[in-house]
Symmetry: C2
Subunit: 139 residues, 2 copies
Amino acid sequence: MDESNNLSKSVIFPKGKRITNDHFIGAVWLEMLVANDSTFLCPIGNVTFEPGARNNWHTHPGGQILLVTGGKGYYQEEGKPVRMLQEGDVVKIRPDVKHWHGSAPDSWFTHIAISTNPQRGEAIWLEPVTDEVYNGNTL
Amino acid sequence: MDESNNLSKSVIFPKGKRITNDHFIGAVWLEMLVANDSTFLCPIGNVTFEPGARNNWHTHPGGQILLVTGGKGYYQEEGKPVRMLQEGDVVKIRPDVKHWHGSAPDSWFTHIAISTNPQRGEAIWLEPVTDEVYNGNTL
């Protein structure tokens, strides 16, 4: 794969390390820009997805905000149509809304993820986004 | 001034409108990416400074986080040396710490500003950053 034109080095903020847990399909990298702490209550990560990568369906008890810095991606809430994302887009994910996000099939994708009200608890991870669901969004 | 190579269109996020209040020296633009609300408690603005522009000394009762997306800038806390800022830098401003930020004399500067714990109140604005203080940082 020619990565030179596909955000393989992330955008502006460091790409970080590849995520090794089971909450993702495909390769995804995370660099924490701000740790979770009791002073700021504002953990911030920079997340980079290879083409076709996405996280499982999940919810955030306190919500999350995404700031898209590069590439092309998808965001979908359960029961709603997919939303196409690109550089400069902002996604406000309300508490407890089941959703997933990831890259388009033919593009890397990078966003900043800001966890809001983190004192309400960690993300709750659910089932994977199947190829059928994911590919349905590419039509 | 040739703005074409100086981030005059901001970086990634919209440049927004010029700020017209008295808390700044020089031209500064603001686009709110996320409004302050009781669900997310996470107002986010994109701020762009023309060369030499800076805000007055101020404090945030709940703190603030800056994510630098482009250009060259300065950040200074009272009684500390100036910190030079560039693309990819992150600044964690603790509650009630007196500080200012702005662009370098020869560069535009853009950062995302995330207000943390906004329920603690608005920024408290203090005196301007004099040319003497500002220029002292350029030596």
